[in-house]
Symmetry: C2
Subunit: 477 residues, 2 copies
């Protein structure tokens, strides 16, 4: 065991009820970034965080981001940045989290008040933001407090970057990070983000990769306005007819992308990589449980994990402009816009993907010989990210997991994207580690979001232990 | 000219301003049947109509229809039925219309207050309900009044059936008509409905056919709940992928229905029928204007009219359960329901059509080898209708058109359905004539709905002249 961990761990156990009380106070502030009326609560949550950090002795700033684009009557909530320690002989670790939450209301079907932390007999702590991302953010504060009360020297200088708009697209954050990379964040030796989840419920993981996402619109338009299908059916070429035909050429039932050239962009699997998947704690039963069905594509774990992490996928999300309500309406929509996205992986280049999408849809549309008009556009793209899991940032975290949980962590990637990861990597040029606290069943973004007491308390130990190991880990890569 | 028409016509011209005033009062009552808060105005409109009829000497009843299904806190507005005249030596004509209107608000983009009749320099009378259907309904009242003031004997006994829920599916009306067919309506010798439109703007028409409509839902479901495409993309079979593939097999860009067997159900075209289309006042330019584009399927008028009136068509209306808002959302919808309808024509049998739809979709879904679940259902069907245009009811109307407008009317069918038509035909066993007052540019259901002054005043003459000719037309068919 690294020196001084034992008294820190004991102190965390001693303080566990007060840590839960801290989370209770945070969950009670409905800091919903997507709702204008809650903006004052988002700001209040930032203030709560700033004052907790100050009372722990950190140097704190609340940095304004200006007006919210498109909602100029609203000020964006501040980024709460903090420095705890400035010993030039210590490594400096930059940690990121967010203090805003997804919308929630008891009327959505919550079993308990979403803004009242409710702990059941199994130690499941229900409340909006419990796991995403207030629990992990407070984990860093808890670790500082436990060091102080245990009389253990804090092993690193800690830089904090806690934002209040993550659930609404992190408005303004990229520019802020880029601006501060060589200022407030300039001492950072590595970055740690705790804002994702274990692959399952028992075994912690370290995450070293994310898929990117290219999101496309494909619009077909013809008539000057929506038409009545009784009057015009059979006499006009219907945009919806063309659109479903185009969408049907993108992907098949087994998830194979049918756009020529896309699959050729994917980095080949190496023999070494193949071996990575077998040890990972994951079963098809886990997948069936989280899916709520057995409608899976692949028969085994290895191919499923590869499909999620290291192969692209294409999902058709919906159609804008067509009839979408319950019931029956006999409209011929004048303009319909299909939405689909491609999850990208190494070595897919975004511009090349977009070019292939354009070429494919243009060619398929030409086959229809339609008089309607096609318009394909990239709505947004976010690059895939893969870090080196052999970096000292990762090896330190792995030792911390072993110390706290007694197991080697799963080395995972995620199928989704966490755009701030790549922003930090590119802005600071440092290694970024994703070190999750919550588990796969926490229901972030859903009703009945929770964080298990074990994940919160042992997770606080994990964050502290990580800082100890990262302080003394030899340089690598 | 039929006897006594001249003094009637003169009287209509004399009273024209007061007829417009009557329409102004009616338009001022926002009788929107789809809006709960406006139900009192629908009832008020029924009372207005009843009291106008009473002051003209008609025997009037306001007949309750009970609670509104699904909205039991609301009473359905009454059906206003009336009898004017009970001379056993005269024919009895049953006329139908509706006194409710579509929703409208200035914020939808109206150039004028939708509930204030506004007449421009070209005699276009703007207002919600002006053409659909308050103008035509008041046309019958105007005709009675002009006969009285001209001292001309009213040529028939008139039965009126004016409902207040037409724009909300005519809740309760079918049962009412069936109940009264051998009671209040038992003397009817023929039925006349003025609730559709001329094919163009210059030439009146008589309408003798309507297409039916079979409306289908095709649902594909798999996962237990909506999924995140980052997490599950590539590992689960997506219902939306399957659905767009199924929808792409229904119809092609040129409107050809691809479901095997459907086209075989259509009655063949006879040589006699072919000749009907050439004389009709309609051009491709008319169609392009109403479409707002040139994205038409057929190159000429004849084939276009046949495609609208006497061939089936299939329109895909939209998808329920998928992402349909503006912007980008990376959801994999768990259950998606495509909506499409088939406009039916002689001799298509609804049950046979439904059977072919089921067989086709089941077979196409089997080809996908998907683990998802398919559910196809008929949401509703309405039969096509074709009357004999050689019946005395039609020949009388044709003479009236010739008398008032100086032209032979176009003999038309409609691509859409007017379900009450077939209800009256089946309940009374009598010939039904559709005798429109408004023109194709009236924008019923849209913003800036209007009725041209000429259509209203000459239309009142037409309704009166029709009653004169129908009174003396020899029996036929």
């Amino acid at each position: 065991m690294a020196p001084n961990l034992e008294p820190f761990f004991k102190q965390v156990d001693t303080l566990s009820e007060s840590f839960i009380e801290r989370l209770r106070k945070a969950v009670a502030i409905p800091s919903i970034s997507a709702e204008d009326d809650r903006r004052k609560d988002v700001v209040r949550m930032g203030q709560f965080l700033a004052s907790e950090l100050e009372s722990l002795g950190a140097e704190v700033q609340q940095r304004p981001l200006g007006k919210q684009p498109g909602k100029e009557h609203l000020e964006l909530p501040p980024v709460v940045i903090a420095r705890y320690g400035s010993d030039v002989n210590k490594r400096t670790i930059l940690v990121y989290g967010h203090y805003d939450v997804q919308p929630a209301g008891i009327e959505d079907g919550w079993a308990t008040d979403p803004f009242k932390l409710t702990v059941d007999e199994k130690g499941r702590m229900y409340g909006r933001g419990s796991t995403d991302d207030k629990g992990p953010v407070l984990g860093w504060l808890n670790a500082i407090e436990a060091h102080q009360k245990a009389g253990v020297d804090f092993p690193v200088n800690l830089l904090c970057c806690f934002e209040g708009m993550e659930e609404y697209g992190s408005e303004g954050l990229d520019d802020f990070i880029n601006d501060e990379a060589q200022k407030f964040f300039k001492d950072a030796d590595a970055v740690c983000i705790s804002d994702n989840y274990w692959l399952g419920t028992e075994k912690p993981c370290l995450t070293y990769g994310l898929r990117g996402c290219n999101y496309y619109s494909v619009a077909v338009s013809g008539p000057g306005q929506d038409l009545h299908s009784g009057v015009f059916g059979g006499t006009a070429q219907e945009p919806m007819t063309d659109l479903v035909r185009l969408l049907s050429t993108l992907v098949n039932t087994d998830g194979q992308i049918l756009i020529p050239g896309i699959n050729d962009l994917v980095a080949p699997i190496t023999e070494e990589e193949k071996k990575l998947y077998a040890p990972i704690s994951f079963t098809m039963a886990n997948l069936h449980e989280s899916l709520g069905s057995k409608t899976t594509i692949h028969p085994d774990k290895e191919r499923t994990l590869m499909a999620r992490w290291r192969f692209p996928s294409l999902s058709i999300h919906g159609i804008e402009g067509a009839f979408s309500a319950p019931g029956a309406k006999t409209v011929i929509p004048a303009k319909v816009t299909g939405k689909f996205s491609i999850r990208t992986v190494p070595d897919m280049d975004s511009a090349t993907v977009t070019d292939l999408v354009h070429r494919h849809l243009t060619s398929e549309f030409a086959k229809l010989a339609s008089k309607n008009t096609l318009d394909v556009s990239l709505q947004h793209d976010g690059k895939w990210w893969v870090a080196s899991p052999r970096h000292w940032n990762f090896s330190a975290a792995a030792k911390a997991v072993k110390e706290v949980f007694g197991v080697e962590p799963d080395m995972t990637r995620e199928g989704g994207s966490i755009p701030v990861t790549i922003t930090f990597e590119q802005a600071t040029g440092k290694n970024v580690l994703l070190l999750p606290m919550g588990s796969s069943t926490d229901a972030a973004h859903s009703i009945n979001e929770k964080l298990d007491r074990r994940n919160y308390i042992e997770g606080t130990k994990l964050l502290g232990a990580y800082l100890h190991y990262v302080a003394e880990e030899p340089m690598s890569e």
